[in-house]
């Protein structure tokens, strides 16, 4: 057991739960549960069209079927999996590239600093959709391409945030104090800088997760996401568009789940901010 482990325990006990965090976790967990279950069990096969076209709820189909006779609930479950994968994948890419780039940019000085800042601003201004189309053109229309495109676009946003946060921490006395006691730069970054930007960063990453899910739905809607027969919420919306007046369930169901997941992670982000922010934590303890 290291020194840190011994010291850390009481903090966990003191950490409070926030109602927002709880609500957010519940909503997110609901979708996550659907996604996890879809990995091991689905009511019907993804390409099972035995259900009859646009059947209503009931008769072995919980939410009815789509215009090709596929079970809607099965598609929703697969869609949940894809949404969660898209969110996690994009955020992972965004975090890895964004944090690395942001920390490096924060240390850059003079013209290099200006250049990097301008480069990040241009990347952020570059439309995600256009980037996604480029990636899809270069590779193929798969979930991986969509995730890569979204992740790259978001890494610029994360990098810009990290650059500012790191710069602010580097100006603090405790960094100078660590430096005066002979701590090397890498150790200072790992020991002092990253922990101090972590609360803000993790809240932002949670928000990025929600945005990534929305972006993936948007790309799928345009046919740039996961290919059939894997259903994505975005493509379900697109397919149900023509029959919305006669069979609204096909469009409403994925729409509602999309809202549940995005609102869920946003609430989680809000709740995390309350629990992690050193300022509020200071006031509580």
């Amino acid at each position: 057991m290291t020194y840190t482990d011994v010291l850390r325990k009481p903090a966990e006990a003191r950490r409070r739960r926030s109602a927002t965090l709880l609500a957010g976790c519940t909503l997110t967990a609901l979708i996550a549960l659907l996604a996890v279950v879809s990995l091991v069990w689905l009511p019907y096969d993804a390409d099972d069209t035995s259900g009859g076209r646009l059947a209503g709820p009931g008769d072995g189909h919980l939410l009815g079927t789509d215009k090709l006779g596929r079970d809607l609930f099965t598609q929703l479950m697969t869609g949940s999996r894809i949404a969660v994968e898209a969110g996690l994948g994009s955020v992972t890419i965004a975090a890895l590239i964004g944090v690395t780039l942001g920390v490096l940019a924060a240390f850059a000085q003079g013209w290099l600093d200006d250049t990097l800042a301008a480069f990040l601003d241009i990347l952020i201004a570059f439309p995600t959709l256009l980037l996604a189309m480029l990636v899809v053109a270069a590779r193929s229309a798969t979930l991986g391409s969509a995730v890569l495109a979204i992740g790259l676009a978001q890494s610029a946003v994360v990098a810009r945030l990290v650059r500012i946060l790191v710069k602010r921490v580097l100006a603090q006395d405790y960094v100078t104090a660590a430096r005066t006691s002979g701590t090397s730069w890498p150790r200072t970054v790992v020991g002092h800088v990253l922990p101090n930007i972590w609360p803000t960063l993790v809240v932002n990453l949670a928000l990025q997760f929600g945005l990534a899910v929305l972006a993936e739905a948007g790309l799928s809607y345009l046919g740039l996401g996961a290919p059939p027969p894997n259903a994505s919420w975005g493509r379900m919306l697109q397919e149900a568009q023509a029959t919305f007046t006669t069979a609204p369930a096909g469009a409403l169901a994925p729409g509602i789940l999309l809202v549940v997941l995005v609102v869920g992670v946003n609430l989680v982000a809000d709740g995390l901010r309350d629990t992690l922010d050193p300022a509020t934590r200071r006031r509580r303890s």
Partner: protein, 266 residues
């Protein structure tokens, strides 16, 4: 033996202002030098320059030799080796000088582990001892606390323990008592004095407060607008100031003192 040899130190900003102008002084090992001056006189910049820690956008010329190592223009790697081992700093604002998200014990453990190579249980014992040495009650509890959970005086003791954990040959104290209230100030000065004497450490004590400097140092250097105005044994500087600026400083301190005497006499 000369521990710190500063010669012709000049610090300029990129836009051409001179913040420290041709400053020269030495600190022998075991000697205690006070650096006196009002805010903006370049005292703190001097201490940062001694460790090669000046902020970006400032250029240094001259020579700073710390324990035989030239600091001005030295590569980062050499500076990291010197910092902590040859000189450590106690800063003015103890709240900002401690990492708000790191437990106090770990902040002391870091330099301690680097110097001694201790780990695990031994390191924890050493941290407790370090906290006891700066006369902190309940060292185990304080080691587990975050900086915001302890008082200002305790924080400054922790900062002192951090600096001492490096066992530096030169302790740089940058206004270490300014942020504390008067009663805590006296205790802190006394503690600093004792600990430094025990270790025969050299001290560079930076303050705007004449009385404080006179209490803990042997020699004093008075600075104004980045220049040395007067230098000599601290009691001479305070008792019989030669430079007009020092006279004004001393007179100011006297005036305050007699005003306070008057009040307490009433």
């Amino acid at each position: 033996m000369t521990l710190l040899d500063v010669r012709g130190l000049t610090v300029r900003t990129d836009d051409g202002r001179t913040l420290v102008d041709d400053l020269s002084f030495t600190v022998d090992s075991g000697e205690r030098l006070g650096l006196i001056g009002e805010s903006g006189s370049g005292k703190s910049l001097t201490t940062l320059a001694v460790l090669g820690l000046l902020p970006d956008g400032m250029t240094v010329t001259g020579s700073v030799e710390l324990a035989g190592t030239q600091i001005v223009g030295a590569p980062e790697k050499r500076l990291t080796a010197v910092r902590g081992r040859d000189a450590a700093v106690v800063f003015q604002e103890p709240l900002t000088a401690l990492d708000p998200l790191m437990r106090v014990g770990r902040q002391i453990a870091e330099p301690l582990a680097r110097r001694t190579g201790l780990r695990g249980r031994n390191l924890r014992t050493a941290v407790t001892e370090a906290l006891l040495r700066v006369r902190l009650p309940e060292p185990e509890r304080i080691a587990r606390a975050f900086p915001h959970e302890i008082s200002g005086g305790q924080r400054q003791r922790v900062a002192l323990a951090m600096a001492l954990a490096c066992e530096p040959s030169l302790l740089i104290a940058d206004e270490p008592t300014t942020a504390l209230d008067v009663s805590v100030q006296a205790e802190m000065l006394e503690l600093l004095d004792t600990l430094v004497r025990e270790r025969e450490m050299a001290v560079l004590f930076v303050s705007h407060d004449l009385a404080v400097v006179a209490a803990v140092t042997d020699r004093a250097l008075v600075m104004k607008d980045g220049r040395a105005v007067e230098e000599g044994p601290v009691l001479d500087v305070v008792g019989a100031p030669r430079a007009a600026y020092t006279k004004a400083l001393v007179a100011g301190a006297r005036k305050l003192e007699s005003a306070l005497d008057l009040r307490s006499a009433r």
